[in-house]
Symmetry: D2
Subunit: 345 residues, 4 copies
């Protein structure tokens, strides 16, 4: 049994890790830290876990994380980089669900997250935790930076087109929509039911942290200069993410060949479902599961290709992907503990 520690178990990615591990056959949660909730059984805060999870929160000093085999950070940005060195030194693998180990460009990190990076040595060796594009690095990694939710959809949607060199990489547009849980479990007015329900809005249109991360990774797939216009929006639903990706074709390619680019790229991927050409994937078809589904369109047979990508932002967009990385890092079957069937309706 893999001994798992979770730092920051009170947020949505933390409780989602707990939900996944409650039925993971090869791993067991030993410690969940929370400074504020020391001693409180996890199931008291989340009664959904009554009878299924019997650990209690413990303060970081008591949690003995160095006895774990792997520690997940489901914390604000900046926490993982402070604690990772001690853990890695003790032989513990680290998976950060925040941004500390996502961006290799330290200056970009410091600009967007307004934090000095305190752990650039580990950053250098850290693997970017998107298995479909980076599986071998993850297998060998001691530290994994789990991708942002939006970047997962943008990369898996644009990658086959960029690799094939059939689009203008300099003017990609990603019009993305996320359920409210993507903003985390924070007591903020704008996230109240009475504010976010029956409403739709864009946010961060002038610039969002997930843009540099996505550009950095996409740039590894092409020699062209990547330019990305990324517009996030907030949808009145709890879970789910839908990215509508636009790219201008630069090569003469027919629709069957376009579709084949995607089918070939993902034919062995257990968590990427390429739907028939022209489909309209719905976010709910991935609800509470680690599946990402996508479909390719070419409106009016014109020069623009549209890729629709959906996932559950808390699973493939966060905690499920992190467990997928853990499975790889420990030599388990990649799908272990991750085959929950989507909940529909």
């Amino acid at each position: 049994m893999i001994k798992v520690g979770i730092v920051g178990g009170t947020g949505y990615t933390g409780v989602e890790l707990l939900r996944i591990f409650a039925s993971h056959p090869e791993a067991s949660v030993q410690a969940v830290t929370s400074r504020k909730e020391d001693g409180m059984p996890v199931a008291e805060m989340y009664p959904s876990l009554r009878g299924r999870v019997d650990v209690a929160f413990s303060s970081p000093d008591k949690a003995r994380l160095t006895d774990c085999d792997v520690v997940f950070f489901a914390t604000p940005h900046g926490v993982a980089m402070a604690q990772a060195p001690e853990l890695v030194a003790a032989g513990v693998k680290v998976i950060d669900l925040a941004a500390d180990f996502r961006l290799q460009d330290v200056a970009a990190f410091e600009k967007w997250y307004k934090l000095p990076h305190s752990c650039t040595e580990l950053l250098k060796e850290a693997a970017y935790g998107l298995p479909e594009l980076n599986r071998e690095e993850i297998r060998k990694a001691r530290v994994v930076g789990n991708p942002g939710c939006y970047p997962t959809t943008m990369q898996l949607g644009f990658a086959p087109l960029l690799k094939a060199g059939v689009i203008d990489a300099s003017h990609l547009i990603a019009d993305c929509k996320s359920g409210v849980s993507g903003a985390g479990r924070k007591a903020e007015l704008s996230l109240l039911f009475s504010e976010a329900s029956d409403n739709f809005k864009a946010y961060g249109v002038s610039g969002h942290r997930h843009s540099p991360e996505t550009v950095e990774r996409l740039s590894k797939l092409t020699k062209d200069k990547v330019g990305l216009l990324f517009t996030p929006h907030l949808v009145p639903m709890i879970r789910g993410m839908h990215s509508t990706l636009y790219a201008r074709l630069t090569k003469d390619i027919d629709n069957a060949a376009l579709q084949a680019l995607f089918e070939d790229a993902y034919k062995n991927e257990p968590f990427v479902d390429v739907m028939p050409f022209g489909s309209h994937p719905e976010t709910r078809t991935t609800r509470a599961s680690n599946m990402l589904r996508l479909a390719v369109h070419r409106p009016d047979n014109g020069d623009t290709v549209v890729v629709l990508v959906v996932q559950d932002n808390l699973v493939k967009g966060a905690s499920g992907q992190a467990v997928q990385c853990m499975n790889l890092m420990f030599g388990l079957e990649e799908t272990t503990g991750l085959l929950q069937v989507p909940v529909l309706p």
Copy 2:
């Protein structure tokens, strides 16, 4: 492997059976009938099942249900009683998720469902599929009538009080609230998003079919005459049911003893969670799982006891409970395939 047939797989209880069986280790769906969708892969109608369920709908004549070990009817009332005799004669067990085998009182059935009962012989031997109150009958049954969603909550909430004889059985009140999926997958105006969202209403206040069913079963638990006032309401959420039960105490009993009635009654039940006295269970703590949770209150230490009961109407209130019955009928561990952790948030 238990060979499973499903009649009527296009509705919500049908697709929920498919979701559960997709990860049930001891049973496998062989046939799903639909007259209209003959030949269509199930996963085409429900893309959430892509890659996980590969049967196609077949018309009833081709489905060869008599080769199955058990057939579930996820159909309108009246279908199961027409087909059950042939199946039972062929040695196939039958579990009906509709009302055909719920009410032993044929006259009451015919009054409330406006159908003549065509299968009263099998009705006599049919077991009422509420394991917590009727486990031994279910184990031996060839035919099971799966309870209604509301009746499950009302019976499990009132049963400990009635058995202990501490309440006035003649004036029970059940003020119940259901998510919209409880009304089924029907193209009706009143169920449209634009009608049911951001809205709340009661319905069927003058009388509802789940009332006679509940009274018939509760009457088996007490010698007193049972009187029930049942008021259903529609909540703008997909899944979930909350029943607020009121009963007047007739015995002098303190709160600890009240609580003990429930804890004793359900201490060995894997799917009934008695929460601490005075708790407020939320429907989402049971979402997509087979758990039912309840909590006991006694406002102002007065003479009325209030029991709050929550469940997922499609799981413990329908398809999960049906699989729980199947597990019993085939000698499996009762929880097999039913330990999905509730999805929260």
Copy 3:
């Protein structure tokens, strides 16, 4: 033009007052106070009011509320009683949307609101602001305590039955359901979209502040001792309230006579709509309007009468009712500025 001041304009009842006054022909908002937002145009916080409301928030010291004709307190409990004496002394009428002037029983107030009452003199003369039951007092009042949202529905639903003396007043049950805006605009985790959406729960079952208020007022309608069991629940919708009221009949009365009790009681009321016997009013039929609708049921022609009452908790349950009181206090037509048609769908 009546000069209106609003203390606490940043919450939901405050912005609802602003919405109503934006089209009230006889009153004009002169000042809206907010300590934190001093100088910020109201329409910057609430862009729905852009072009329609051009006042800015001002700190209480600059607001010159004593120059107003009437001041509304859309504040937490305890604020109005601190400021009312100075205003009343200056000839300004006061309408409190919080609880300071609702309960004549000071001990009950102090027990439930955990505040000493600092203004018992004005409390004695304060009118309870439910026009349908207390119109003449309101007309003459200098200070009005606006009813709670739940109490409005409970009183208007039970009143005709209590006045007629046809029910057992000692065991009233009110099973009430409120939209989330009823909890106010507060940055609390339990009110987040991701917590409150797709969910249903009861709260405060062991005791709620609206109970003593309702009992005090209902007791004025009957010589019997009033006993009330009040159970509030939270519905995943922004606005709307539905109260399901249960009372045991003690007199032999037929359904037509029952219905007539309500029709007679409210036949001249512009904001109370008695629907046909046996109807199921929906909350959305009152959305964004000052209407309250109710319907009477008698399930199985038994001894229990059920009254279903709906309203918009922010209008008839709060700000609309407050303006209705103001209209009475200033001799205006009672419906002035309050005839917005409900928004459906």
Copy 4:
């Protein structure tokens, strides 16, 4: 008083017309037709209108529409063109909320709506009912084709840029999101609460009827060839529309000048609100009102301008705009009856 007739009053645009006219001081609804509901009071189907609207549905033959001054068609495509000639001949003005009089290109109409156009003579003289771009034609028109909901946002968002000639007209992208009421009041499975709630999806990506309409109208604003990629999505909210518009700048223009293009274009428009540069308009700030709000962005000061446009799809996107046209056609103040303040929260 203007005598108003409504053909097809049972759908959402019909009931929205009724809501608006219930407080319109210069017009009065004389007849509402519905073949199926002949004789039923409108307020029985829509209890939100009880006490406010007292007409009943009448079958078309009894409705005497030729006695009206104006008739609105809130009907499926094809109905207005069949009935308009008789009405116009009788001196009645016609406003069609469907598509019969939107497209001057008859071939395009017949291709997209799969109907032969039976009334091309009136089509030629019909005015396109978007007052901000076509006010003078509307004033003089006998027949108005009311714009589609999406086209209203796309035209008002792109118009200032196209007129100024600062963007590449050939590659406009409109990523649009609509509340569910935009699909009408139809008993379709995909519109059920249990299907559309907690979900997000695109639809019609390969081609949508609102595209040719928008291109035809935008082409009048520029000599360049207009190319539009339009992607509609469905949002789990009742009302509201958000269009995210992308255009590549072809001229060197700074942000202040960009903003000025919009402020100048709409400075006298009562129903178009140009928000400060870089704002994020929310759909709820227009809920139940005739306002359209927009904001201009230029991410990273790059070569792409992004315009965010919001409106209530049933008001400015349909019935409110139709009444705005009527006001113009009858010489009334354009805002008459249309100054409802948006409902927030």
